[in-house]
Structure formats: structure tokens, C-alpha cells
């Protein structure tokens, strides 16, 4: 079946470092169970954190959670429920920074975990850029597959809103 290619987005980068099957599913708009409690909690945190800051900066296909300008520098923040998957989160935010950089905007990134009252800085460097390039290619490759990659039981399945879909 002919299928229109979806562009690589920050969300896909996030999923790429957790589960490749999720990348394919999300890329084909097969979204996870929306009534899953973790998803509801994530949505709640997203909607109810950092009320005083400006929300949602949209550039291209990316949507950044919060942003502010401090000392003439743009700071974009990505809000996460927990720091458990911080590598995923770092790469997602780095992807946004790269998108901004491609448009000539220099920015700093902050990963925010409101429930843990934690904040992590993310800065682009050569290594991260290279890794992002690799990930983007891999994602495009996954999305072009006729079928999603087979489900694998990993640690993440326990709390995943796709679990019932994958293991039914």
C-alpha cells in the first residue's frame, strides 16, 4: 500500500529510544489507549504545570512545551512526568534545539520534571547532532516498513499504554 511519508518529529525521537515498535505505530496514527492512567497523568501534568510561563512554541512539525527568553536567549523546556527515561527526553529536546538552530535561532534546553522538582540542562554538541542524524535515519527506515517491528517484552511494557494492543 502506498503510504505518505511522515516527517521525523521530536515525539518520534522520544519513542525511538524507548521502543521502535511505538515509532511505527505512532507514525501510522495508531495511538495508544488514551484512557491509560499514565497517559492521563502525563496530560494532566502537561496542562497544569508552569502556568505562568508561555506555552507551546510551534516550529515546523515540532511543538515545544514551554519557552521563555532570558538575557536575550531563548530557553525551551520539555515537561516530563518522570526522569526515568531521561535519555529519550534529552534526545527529544536536542532535536528541538537542532530544529531551532537550522532556522538560525540559538537556544538552550531545559528538561523539567515538575513532580520531582528537577531540571536538567540540554546543550547541543557535535556528538548529539551526529546521534540525532543517525536516529532520524533509523526512524525513517522504521516508518517505511510494511508492518510494525514485532513486539518484544521489555521493561517498558509494564507501564505502556500499548501493552494491550501488543500482547492481545
Amino acid at each position: 500500500m502506498e503510504y505518505v511519508m511522515v516527517p521525523v518529529t521530536g515525539t518520534l525521537i522520544w519513542y525511538y529510544y524507548i521502543c521502535q515498535r511505538e515509532v511505527w505505530l505512532i507514525g501510522h496514527q495508531i495511538t495508544p489507549d488514551q484512557s491509560d492512567s499514565n497517559i492521563s497523568l502525563g496530560r494532566y501534568i502537561h496542562e497544569n504545570s508552569y502556568d505562568r510561563e508561555r506555552k507551546e512554541l510551534v516550529i515546523g512539525h515540532s511543538k515545544m512545551d514551554v519557552f521563555r527568553v532570558s538575557n536575550g536567549e531563548l530557553v525551551v523546556g520539555e515537561v516530563k512526568k518522570s526522569s526515568k527515561y531521561s535519555q529519550s527526553a534529552r534526545m527529544q529536546l536536542a532535536f528541538y534545539l537542532m530544529e531551532l538552530q537550522d532556522r538560525g535561532i540559538k537556544a538552550r534546553g531545559e528538561l523539567r520534571f515538575p513532580q520531582e522538582k528537577k531540571l536538567e540542562e540540554v546543550v547541543l554538541d557535535e556528538n548529539i547532532l551526529e546521534e540525532l542524524g543517525r536516529a532520524s535515519q533509523a526512524i525513517t527506515q522504521i516508518l517505511s516498513l510494511q508492518r510494525p517491528p514485532e513486539p518484544k517484552k521489555i521493561n517498558f511494557c509494564k507501564n505502556c499504554a500499548y501493552a494491550e494492543f501488543c500482547w492481545a
Binding site: M1, Y3, H28, Q29, I30, T31, D33, Q34, S35, Q146, R147, P148, A163, E164, F165, W167, A168
Partner: protein, 330 residues
């Protein structure tokens, strides 16, 4: 899990601030919106556009039933889970006769095997249903050989007629004889119960489909005309025997529903409100019952099993895993 709200009385259902309110003559009842999964309206209820907007926003389906408890329709908020990929796959499997037949066969097989399971249970309890079981076992073997949907439906019809022959042996109550399957209107008490239960089953399946990426207008066993929902009828085939029929048998055996719970009018036999409530209560209990799911490694309710069944269909359509229906083991 979110609750199903059943409304039997007449009154007005409206949005009150950020929640739902059902107002009867003297009484006001608030319904927590975040805890509501779907609404089943049996009574005469007045609604307005503001309510419909609210229900759409919260992705809540409103199913309505007529005076006789028949499913009439659903207020179906706009689709919120769109996957072009899935719809194309669904259509592909409908348009190709071989692919369509493959899925239809599984639905008949699932329904038939669950029917067999119900009969087996009652055979174990000393009811005389052996001859029906034998006939059904034979028919189950025929399913695979069918070359088209009409002949498949004919096998299904035969299975069902043997199954219904067993009803009198199972129920053993002269007030509730089966006679023949009569619909619109049902002519006797038992048929009224079956119709009522099936109506609810169809709407529950529709609600579950709404939470997946499947389009309820494309069914495989039941013909699609792209106007009426038909996928929910397909999925119901599997669950009707183990959920609806079993509920009926147990309610009658415990005399929780008796001849007194029915009214007869010019158009047929009606289940009174008390009877409907009793039925729904028992069914809801059943839907909440959990069983251990081996592959998932956690307990799932019967209601959830319906959703899993849809996920299995999605995976079949994606070419990932061949669909096999849920068969009760007890």
C-alpha cells in the same frame, strides 16, 4: 474504568457547569463527567445542543433505545482516533472476497465455539443437551469449507437453531419457553430478554470500537453499506453466548426475573423497568469480572476482552498476526 450510565426515567439531561445533571420532576442527580464512559438512554430524555457539544468534547457516546428496549441509535461524536492507514486496511480486507471471508469465518467460529462452551457447561450440570452439542460439533467442522458469506451465514443459522433448541432444557421453566426466535416485536418472555441483551451488547461493542482506530461501518460478516454500524454486530457474535445468554440463564435460574417482570401490549412483550434494571445489574457484574490473560500477564475484565478482540483485529488487518477469536474455556 469509566462507568456506563443507564437512564430509565424520563427527564432532562443537561450540562451543568462542568458536569452532567439529570433532572426529573422533583429530583436532580449529578453525573460526574470524568467518570462516565457512555450513556444508555432508555427513558424519554430531553437534550440540547450544549449537552451534545459537551459529550463530543468528552468523547462520550449516547446510545438510545426505544420503548421496547431496542437499540435505536447512537449519538456518535466525531471520530477522534483517525488512522488513514487503518481505514485503508479495513476497506482492503472488505473489498477482497477472500480476505473478507477469512475474517467472517473467524467470527462464526468464535461464536459457535462459545455456544458449544455454554452448552457443555450445562451438560456438566446434568441438562440434556448432548444431541445439540453433537450437531453443533459437526457444523463447526463445516465452517472452514464455506466459499462465500451467504453459505457461511447458513451454517451459522444451523448452529444457532440447534443452540436455541437447548434453551428449554437449560431453563426448564414453562413461563420461559423458546418456541422460535421472534424479533421486532419479540413474541414471548424469553425472546424479549434475548433481544434486550443483544441490544446492549451491540452498543457496548460500538463504544469499544470508538476507542480504537477501527471504523464501525466496515464489518466483515455483516454487510457494509457505509451507513449503519456493522462491525459491532460482528464482534458481538463472539460475546453474546458467554455474556448475554449466560446472564439470562442465571437470572432465570435464580428467579430474579419472572413472568411478573413483563408486560404484554398490542405490539408484543415488554420487559418492565425493574426487569431491565435487574438484567443490567447482572450484566455489569459479569462485564467487571476479570480473568487472567496469559500473554498480557495481568487480569482483564470481560469488558476489556472486547477491546482486546478489536486490537487483535487491527493486528490482523495490519498483517501482523492472524486473528483468532476469544474462546471461553469454562
Amino acid at each position: 474504568m469509566k462507568k456506563t450510565i443507564y437512564i430509565f426515567s424520563d427527564g432532562e439531561l443537561h450540562r451543568k457547569d462542568n458536569t452532567l445533571c439529570f433532572e426529573k420532576e422533583k429530583e436532580k442527580r449529578y453525573i460526574p463527567i470524568e467518570d462516565t464512559g457512555e450513556i444508555m438512554a432508555f427513558g424519554e430524555i430531553n437534550i440540547n445542543k450544549r449537552l451534545l457539544e459537551f459529550l463530543s468534547q468528552k468523547e462520550i457516546l449516547l446510545h438510545y433505545f426505544n420503548h421496547y428496549g431496542y437499540y435505536m441509535g447512537t449519538f456518535y461524536p466525531r471520530e477522534h482516533l483517525n488512522s488513514g492507514f487503518m481505514i485503508l486496511k479495513q476497506a482492503e480486507h472488505y473489498m477482497d472476497q477472500t480476505l473478507r471471508l477469512k475474517i467472517a469465518i473467524e467470527y462464526i467460529r468464535g461464536g459457535g465455539k462459545n455456544i458449544r462452551q455454554v452448552l457443555k457447561y450445562y451438560q456438566g450440570r446434568g441438562r440434556y443437551v448432548g444431541d445439540k452439542l453433537e450437531a453443533i460439533e459437526k457444523l463447526l467442522l463445516d465452517i472452514d469449507q464455506q466459499q462465500d458469506i451467504p453459505s457461511l451465514m447458513a451454517v451459522e443459522g444451523n448452529i444457532r437453531s440447534w443452540y436455541y433448541k437447548g434453551f428449554d432444557d437449560i431453563i426448564c421453566d414453562t413461563n420461559f419457553v423458546f418456541e422460535e426466535r421472534s424479533r421486532r416485536p419479540p413474541k414471548n418472555f424469553l425472546n424479549t430478554l434475548i433481544s434486550f441483551g443483544n441490544s446492549i451488547m451491540y452498543s457496548i461493542c460500538l463504544s469499544e470500537i470508538y476507542k480504537t482506530h477501527l471504523d464501525p461501518r466496515i464489518g466483515y460478516l455483516h454487510a457494509t453499506n457505509f451507513r449503519r454500524f456493522s462491525l459491532n454486530l460482528d464482534v458481538s457474535e463472539i460475546f453474546k453466548p458467554i455474556l448475554i445468554d449466560r446472564t439470562i440463564f442465571s437470572l432465570l435460574a435464580r428467579k430474579m426475573i419472572t413472568a411478573k417482570d413483563f408486560d404484554r401490549d398490542a405490539n408484543g412483550v415488554l420487559l418492565k423497568e425493574k426487569g431491565k434494571k435487574c438484567f443490567i445489574h447482572a450484566l455489569e457484574e459479569k462485564l467487571k469480572t476479570t480473568i487472567n490473560h496469559r500473554d498480557l500477564g495481568r487480569p482483564v475484565s470481560y469488558r476489556r476482552l472486547i477491546r482486546l478482540e478489536l486490537y487483535k483485529l487491527e493486528k490482523h488487518l495490519m498483517g501482523e498476526k492472524t486473528y483468532t477469536p476469544f474462546i471461553a474455556r469454562w
